[in-house]
Amino acid sequence: MMFDLLFQPAPPGASRCTGGLTDDLRLDVLLDAMAAGDARTAQACRQVLLAPLTDAQAIAARREVRGDITAHPKLFSTLLTSAREAMDAADRYAEFQKPRYDHIISPQKKLLTEITIAKQSLKILRRMHAAVTAEHAAFGSGAVTALADTIIRLFSAENVKRMEARLAMLDSLKLSDDLTLSASVGDGLKPAHVVLNTLARPMAGRRRLTEAGIPIALSSVGLIRNAEEIVQSAVTPLLQTVAEFSKSLRDFFNTLSFQLGFYLGCIRLQNRLRAIGVPLCEPDIDDACGGMESDVLCSAGLALQEGRIPMGNAVRFREKRLVVITGVNQGGKTTFLRGVGQAQLMAQCGMFVAAQTYRCPLYRGIYTHFPSGEDTARGAGLLDVELRKLSSIVDCIRPHSLLLLNETFQTTMPADARYMAEITVRALTDSGVAVVFVTHLYAYAAAAYARHQPDTLFLRAERAGTVQKAYVLREGKPYSSAAGDDLYREVLGGY
C-alpha cells in the first residue's frame, strides 16, 4: 500500500451483520453531519463506521492521525478536493473507454485517452506537492508523515516534469500511426524479439529524408489491414504501461479521498457538536475494564437533531454482563440505548465520544436488535420476523461482543415472551456476550431482579408522581407499570 491512514485489518465489508446497525442506531444523523451533503464523504464515513476496529493500537494510531489532521485542516481539505477533482476528471473520460457495440476502440485511441487522463492527474499532483511542501509541518503521527513523504518524494518537481515529458512524447501518436519496429527472424519466419524503437516524430522541415529499404506499398485492403494490426500489436504494451500508471494514480486518489473524507467528516462532526455544547472526550480503551464506564454520556444523534445538549447519563457497566432497562414510556430508554451504541461504535472507530469521560473495553462486534413496527413483513408474523433477525445475529455474533436489544420479544404474549427471553438472554450472556436489554416485560425483569445476581444491572427511567424525571436512568427495581396511564391521561385528557 502506498499509505494507510485507517489501519483496517480487513477490507471493509468483512463484518456481515451490520445491515441494520445504521437504522437502529440512527447513524444517518451522524453521517449527515459528517458529510454535509457530500455523497462520497458520506459513503466513506459509513463504511468506516460500520467496521469498528478491535485492536487498541490501531485505534490509538487513528487518534494520532486525527490529531494531525485537526491541526492542519486547510492542507488536508486541499488534498481532499484535489483528489476529488482528479477522480471527476478521470470519470469524464471513462465514457470514452467503455466498449461500444458499434465500433471497436483502437489501442491508439485508448492510449491517447489514457495520456490525457494521466496529464490531468499529474497537474493535480503538482498542486498537491506544492501544498504539502508549503506547509512545512512536522506531523505527530507516523502515518501522516509517511503520506507527506510519499507525496514529496514521488511527485517532486523533476519527477513530474519527466513524466509529463514522456507523456508529451507519446502524444505524437495523435499525428500519425507511423512507427519503427526492429526484430529478428524467428519460428516459421515470423518476427521474434520485436522491439518498438520509436514513434514517428513530426518532420522537422519540408525535406523528406529518403529512407533506405525496400518499400511495400499498401495498395490493397488486406495489406492496409495487416499494417494496422502490426501497429496495434506494437502499441498495446505501451497502452498497458500507461494504463497501469494511470490506474495507480487513480487508486492513490481514491484512497486519499476515502480516508481523508472520513477524518474531515470527524472534524466536521466535532465542530458541530462543540457548537451545540455537547461534552466531548477521547475514550480510554482498557480491555480489562469489563464494561463501559462513563459520566454524562449523551446521544450525539439526539443532540444534532434537537440542536441542544441532551440529558447526560452515568454509565456503570463495569463487571456487568446483563443490563435490564425498564421504565416509563418516552422516558429516554431507547435514546439511552442508542447513545451507548453510538458511543461504543465511535470509540472503536478511533473517534471521540459525546461524554465527559468514557472508558470501555474493545468488543469484537456491536450488534443491535430493534424490532420496528414498520416491518413490512408479508406472510410472516411479526414474531417470525423478529426471531429470524435474532437468529441471523446469533449466526454472526461471537464471544465478547456487545448486543443491544430494544423491546425484543414484545410481539407476542407476555408469558411466551418471558420464556423466550429467559432462554436466549441467558444463552447469550453465558456465551460471553454483553447484553443491554430495554424491555417492558415486567414479569421477566422482576424474576431476573429477584435472582439477585451480581453481574446484572437494573436501570429504570424514573417517574415521580405525574412528572417524569426527564430522561435520566437510575438504578432500581423494575417498575410494574410503565405509566402508560399517565400518558393516556396526558394525551387523551378526559375521554
Binding site: S184, V185, L189, L196, I216, A227, P237, T241
Partner: protein, 541 residues
C-alpha cells in the same frame, strides 16, 4: 536382441498376440451415448435391434468392465491404442518385458526424460505438418526446418540423458541403442549439421519495419531505443513493490501463415539476404521427411504405458493398492486383496477379496445372496487376469498367477428380466464357441448361466458345461445360485452377509455353498417359520 517395438520384445510375439482366436468373440455394447441417435435435428432412442454401427469389443473386456476402465485411461478414443489393449500377450517373456518398462517409467526422472523426448518429437512432427499447409514457400520451408531442428535436438537430449544415467528397462535401453545407432550414421549427422547451420543463418537476420503512411519499409536492423522500456522507466507507478508483470512482448502475425503483408515482407527479406534463404530451401527438402518411423511409433506407443500409469497413480492416491503380478510357472493362482478397478475409479468404495487356487483346484463356484458382490468379485479376478496378460500392474495387494492363453466370459444379461422364449437358445449358441475354443491354460468366467429356465435344468446343464471345460484343462470361475454338489476339484466360495443384520459385507471367502442359509435367518428374524406362522394365526382367532 535388436529393438523391435516398445510393446513386444520380438516380431514373433507380436504376431502371436494379435492372432488370439478368442478375440473374435466380440459383443456390441452400446456406450452411454449410443442409446440415442440423432437424425437431422431430432433425437430418437435407439432400440437394441438397430445396433449396427457400434464398435466391437472383446466380450471379456465388456464383461469385466475393462471397457469403462479403458475409457478412463484413454479418454481421447484413440482407436489405434485401443487395439493395443486388446492384444493380450500369451507368454511370460512379453509380460516381464512390459513390467520392466512400467517399473522404469514409475521413476519420475526416467519418466520425465522419456516423456519430454516424446513430447518434443510429437511437437516437431506437428510443426512440420503445419508447415506443409502454408502457401508461402519460404515460410513453409522455415517451419519444416524448425520442426526438424527440434527433432534433432530432442534426439541429442535423449542420448545425452541416457549416457548420464542408463535406463533400467531392456525395452527402453534397446530403443535408446537403436536411436544412437540411427543418429551415428554420417547421413544423419550431415543433415543435422545442415539444419542447424540453416536455422542459425536465417535467425541471424535482423531487420526493421518502418510503417509510414501508405507504405511499409523493410530496412536493415536498427537497435536504437526501446520505447516501451523507456516509458516504463519514466512512468514508475506508485507501488512500492514492483509487483506488476512486465508488459506482454509484442507478437506480430498470430496465425500460422502470414497474411498478404507478411508474405511481401518475407519476399523483401529474401531479396535482401539471398544466401540464408537459398540454404533454407535446400535444407527444407531434407527436413520434410526427417522423422524416422520407428521413433514416431515409439512416441505414440509409449502412451500405452503412461496413460495407464496415470490411472494407477489415481488409485494409489485414494489409498488402494496396485501391484505388479508375479508370473507363476506352476499354474497356481494366489491373489490377495483384489478389488474391481472399474468401481474404484467411479469412485465407489470397494471391499477387497482373495483368490487362491492350487494346481489341483481347477475352478471356483461362487454363491451367496443377491447383490452381495459375486459379480464384482468375478470382474475383479477377470480384470487381474487380463491386465496381467497385458503386462500391466493389477488392482490388488499381491498377486501371483500364470499367464492365461485364452480368456472367455459369459455374463448373462440377468438384469434384463424379460424372459423371452428364445433366450435359452441364444445363450447356448453363445456358449458353443467357448466350449469349442477353451483349452488348457484358458480362463473362463461364467456369471449366472441359464437363468431363463427351471432350476433343475439349469443345474444339469451347468454341471455338464463346467465338467466339459474342466476336462479340457481350462480354469473356470462360475457365479450361480443353483449350486447342487460342487464339481470335483472345484472350490466353493461365498459372498458374505452379516448374520444378524443381513448387511452385505461384499467379501468373498471360502465356505460351503450357501443357497438358502441367509433366507432361513431372515425367516427366523420375522418369525415366519412354519410353526410360528401357525401359532400366530391360531392365536389371532
Amino acid at each position: 536382441m535388436p529393438y523391435h517395438s516398445i510393446l513386444f520384445p520380438s516380431p514373433a510375439q507380436e504376431a502371436q498376440a494379435k492372432r488370439c482366436p478368442w478375440l473374435a468373440l466380440c459383443v456390441r455394447r452400446p456406450g452411454k451415448d449410443a442409446l440415442f441417435e440423432t437424425r437431422g435435428n431430432k433425437t430418437f432412442p435407439v432400440s437394441k435391434h438397430h445396433l449396427t454401427n457400434l464398435p466391437r469389443i472383446p466380450a471379456l473386456f465388456a464383461d469385466t468392465g475393462l471397457d469403462t476402465v479403458l475409457d478412463i485411461v484413454l479418454p481421447d478414443a484413440d482407436d489405434a491404442l485401443h487395439g493395443v489393449y486388446y492384444a493380450l500377450a500369451t507368454d511370460a517373456a512379453t509380460v516381464r518385458y512390459r513390467q520392466e518398462i512400467l517399473r522404469a517409467l514409475e521413476d519420475a526422472d526416467t519418466a520425465d526424460h522419456i516423456l519430454s523426448f516424446c513430447r518434443a518429437v510429437e511437437g516437431a512432427a506437428r510443426t512440420i505438418a503445419d508447415g506443409q499447409t502454408v502457401h508461402h514457400a519460404s515460410q513453409s520451408d522455415k517451419y519444416a526446418v524448425d520442426g526438424a531442428v527440434a527433432y534433432c535436438d530432442a534426439i541429442r537430449t535423449l542420448l545425452a540423458g541416457a549416457h548420464r544415467q542408463p535406463l533400467p528397462a531392456e525395452g527402453l535401453a534397446s530403443f535408446v541403442r537403436a536411436v544412437r545407432a540411427y543418429a551415428d550414421t554420417p547421413a544423419y549427422r550431415q543433415t543435422e549439421a545442415l539444419l542447424h547451420k540453416t536455422q542459425a543463418a536465417v535467425e541471424a537476420i535482423s531487420f526493421s519495419l518502418k510503417i509510414r503512411k501508405g507504405k511499409v519499409l523493410v530496412c536493415p536492423g536498427d537497435t536504437s531505443g526501446d520505447l516501451i522500456r523507456e516509458t516504463r522507466d519514466d512512468l514508475i507507478p506508485l507501488q512500492d513493490t514492483p509487483a506488476q508483470n512486465p508488459p506482454q512482448p509484442i507478437r506480430l502475425f498470430g496465425e500460422l501463415a502470414f497474411g498478404p503483408l507478411g508474405n511481401l515482407i518475407a519476399d523483401a527479406l529474401e531479396k535482401q539476404h539471398p544466401e540464408p534463404f537459398a540454404l533454407l530451401h535446400t535444407a527444407a527438402a531434407q527436413a520434410q521427411a526427417i522423422i524416422e518411423p520407428f521413433i514416431r511409433t515409439f512416441a505414440r506407443e509409449i502412451r500405452f504405458y503412461t496413460s495407464y500409469l496415470d490411472v494407477v497413480r489415481t488409485l494409489r492416491e485414494s489409498g488402494l493398492p496396485v501391484t505388479y503380478p508375479a508370473i507363476a510357472d506352476d499354474d497356481t493362482v494366489c491373489i490377495d486383496g483384489a478389488y474391481d478397478m472399474g468401481l474404484a475409479l467411479q469412485p465407489v468404495s470397494v471391499v477387497p477379496s482373495d483368490c487362491r487356487l492350487s494346481t489341483a483346484e481347477r475352478g471356483i463356484i461362487i454363491t451367496g445372496a443377491n447383490h452381495s458382490g459375486k459379480t464384482t468379485y468375478l470382474r475383479a479376478i477377470g480384470q487381474i487376469a487380463a491386465l496381467t496378460a497385458l503386462g500391466l500392474p493389477v488392482p490388488c495387494a499381491a498377486a501371483k498367477l500364470p499367464v492365461f492363453t485364452g480368456f472367455f466370459s459369459h455374463f448373462s444379461d440377468a438384469e434384463e428380466g424379460d424372459a423371452r422364449q428364445g433366450r435359452l437358445k441364444e445363450e447356448l449358441v453363445k456358449l458353443k464357441p467357448i466350449l469349442q475354443s477353451a483349452g488348457a491354460g484358458s480362463l473362463v468366467l461364467l456369471n449366472e448361466m441359464f437363468s431363463s429356465t427351471t432350476v433343475q435344468d439349469a443345474q444339469t446343464m451347468a454341471d455338464r458345461m463346467i465338467g466339459g471345460l474342466a476336462a479340457k484343462g481350462a480354469r473356470v470361475l462360475c457365479v450361480t445360485h443353483t449350486a447342487g454338489d460342487i464339481p470335483p476339484r472345484f472350490v466353493s466360495m461365498v459372498a458374505q452377509v452379516a448374520p444378524g443384520s443381513h448387511e452385505r459385507l461384499y467379501t468373498v471367502v471360502r465356505a460351503p455353498a450357501e443357497t438358502h442359509a441367509h433366507v432361513d435367518a431372515l425367516i427366523a428374524k420375522y418369525r415366519l417359520t412354519y410353526t410360528q406362522v401357525k401359532e400366530r394365526i391360531a392365536h389371532d382367532v
